[in-house]
């Protein structure tokens, strides 16, 4: 697999080639990604991503926080799917603790996680289409995204940095009428996906810009650690929600969209079909939402209800202890992976038995997916780089952490 091994630093352009710098401030890099391109006319000879512009040392910061205090940090890693990050982190800590989560909390988590996936895919679709030149789609996508952000605001008080999932359950009972709003959105949404598809799927310009562009084979994608829709578009049938179910995903029926071409169009089709699957999961979750508590019965770990704190001494004491000195987590280590909108998001947490995590490491799906960019683009045209970046759906906050 020598052709996938990244070449050493680009040297001075030789007779025919020149070095072109793209980014870090470039509208199509979805953040601050810098690409160094060696081009021969319009053709890309070599491409090298340069990352780290958004590095904030979140992994180091986590080591200085109590377990509960890490939850808001996880929001800020991948700012397009904060709830997926919350979920992955709390699942990992719950696995460390051996905590059982009540069904209603699991259902709520699945429902909101899928809404997050839709939210993230909408931003991806809008910006990806805009990069290639289809402006309208962006406005359409952000119209529906606004609806989802309002739902997040209703349930957690925040549009983006939700921190709604907590160790042991979820933060609050959803407000009255929330389920009806979600049901209403789920009813309206499929026709909106039709609208996006009417604008793009059969559009000859879109098809010409995406079909056969930035291809990657299944073998190369696996070797490079590519995951998520980018991997499935190359024909690998693997989705963690189905193949390693977590948070009660095994109770839901859904298909895993696959394509075999491995080009930009295939990745587009996979994600658009995922939109439809996700909304079907949301519907199932709303309709089958079990009754019961939203937090685990573990007073030393889970923050008590506000009401109880006003009437019960024990609740007040537990609250004080959890907030002021955290809770000890038994020694050990876990790796928890979830299917984020971009691929395998993994949290590796090591506990040394104290109230602060000894080490928190995030496996960023985008970091591995970005490694596939040179393999996709080399030999292609310069204009196709923009399509390729959009198609792997990168979020630099997650890559740099």
């Amino acid at each position: 697999m020598g052709h996938l091994t990244q070449m050493p630093a680009l040297e001075q352009g030789q007779d025919r080639t020149m070095i072109l710098n793209m980014g870090p401030q470039h509208p199509s890099t979805h953040g601050v990604l810098r690409l160094i391109l060696e081009i021969d006319g319009e053709n890309i000879v070599r491409l090298m991503p340069d990352i780290g512009y958004l590095h904030t040392g979140i992994e180091k910061t986590c080591e200085a926080k109590f377990y509960h205090q890490v939850v808001p940090l996880t929001d800020r890693i991948d700012y397009l799917c904060p709830l997926t990050n919350n979920l992955c982190y709390v699942l990992a800590v719950e696995k460390l603790l051996g905590l059982e989560i009540p069904p209603k909390a699991q259902w709520l988590r699945v429902m909101l996680n899928e809404l997050t996936r839709i939210n993230s895919h909408l931003v991806w679709l809008g910006t990806h289409a805009m990069d290639i030149g289809a402006m309208t789609v962006f406005l359409y996508c952000f119209r529906e995204r606004e609806d989802i952000l309002r739902l997040f605001e209703a349930v957690s008080g925040q549009r983006m940095m939700t921190s709604y999932f907590r160790i042991g359950g979820v933060a609050l009972e959803p407000p009255l009428g929330f389920m009806d709003r979600v049901r209403d959105f789920a009813r309206r949404f499929p026709s909106k996906v039709d609208e996006y598809e009417n604008l793009l799927t059969g559009n000859p310009i879109w098809v010409m810009r995406t079909k056969g562009v930035a291809k990657i084979t299944a073998e190369d994608a696996i070797a490079l650690g590519v995951s998520g829709p980018t991997l499935r578009a190359s024909g690998v049938d693997f989705d963690l929600r189905r193949d390693a179910p977590y948070s009660g995903y095994d109770n839901f029926k859904f298909n895993v969209p696959i394509a075999t071409e491995g080009d930009v169009f295939a990745r587009y089709m996979c994600r658009v079909r995922e939109l439809r699957e996700s909304i079907s999961i949301v519907k199932q979750a709303v309709d089958g939402m079990p009754e019961g508590p939203i937090k685990a019965d573990a007073p030393k770990v889970v923050l008590p209800d506000r009401e109880k704190m006003k009437t019960q001494m024990e609740a007040l004491i537990y609250h004080f202890k959890i907030v002021s000195e955290g809770f000890a987590v038994p020694e050990g280590e876990v790796y928890q992976a979830v299917e984020s909108p971009r691929g395998e998001m993994g949290y590796y947490i090591v506990s040394d038995g104290t109230a602060k995590p000894y080490r928190v490491h995030m496996r960023a799906a985008c970091l591995a997916n970005l490694q596939a960019l040179p393999a996709m683009c080399e030999g292609q045209l310069l204009a196709d780089v923009v399509a390729a970046i959009g198609s792997i759906d990168i979020v630099l906050g997650e890559i740099d952490r």
Binding site: M1, A9, K60, E344, G346, R363, Q371
Partner: protein, 165 residues
């Protein structure tokens, strides 16, 4: 819920396909194993890591064809100070295994697995950048997240959380 105690006896775990394969290849390559919270960890000798990875990738009983992650933990001040951790996934068997290599604190180095999985490239660069562990045979071992001229390795435990001011 009570946690089941971890199993660390290699004799009890030697039927796991990954451990069986490594023991059959070279008994000295396995330094130990642990089964805890439904996750299997295999401690691999430093010198054997590249070949162990390549064996586990190609063996028909294991088929750990996907390298999910490479990371590191600093156990300073105890020795061996560093643990380099590989999370392997078998896409066809839907199984995971964790490989660990223990390294001493002075000039830590081990073989790169980029020749087995090209995707190890960025992960290993990140570990080099943040922990200062050298991966021998890596095609492009340079800082990836921190600036080129940064001094020190931020994720080491002796590096202050607020940084040096």
């Amino acid at each position: 819920m009570a946690l089941a105690p971890a199993i660390t006896d290699l004799e009890l775990l030697k039927d796991h396909p990954a451990i069986a394969k490594l023991l059959a290849w070279n008994p000295a390559s396995v330094a130990g194993a642990k089964f805890d919270r439904d996750e299997m960890t295999v401690y691999v000798e430093r010198s054997a890591i590249r070949e162990a990875c390549s064996l586990l990738r190609d063996d028909s009983n294991c088929m750990f064809n996907f390298l999910a992650d490479v990371t590191c933990v600093d156990w300073a001040p105890s020795e061996p100070r560093f643990e380099v951790i590989y999370h392997l996934l078998s896409i066809s068997k839907r199984e995971r295994v964790r490989l660990k290599v223990r390294l001493n604190g002075d000039a830590p180095a081990l073989d790169s697995v980029t020749s087995v999985w090209p995707g190890a490239n960025y992960f290993e660069r990140e570990v080099f950048d943040l922990f200062g562990i050298r991966f021998l045979g890596h095609p492009y071992l340079r800082r990836i997240l921190m600036p080129e001229d940064w001094e020190g390795y931020p994720l080491r435990k002796d590096y202050p959380v607020e940084g040096y001011r």
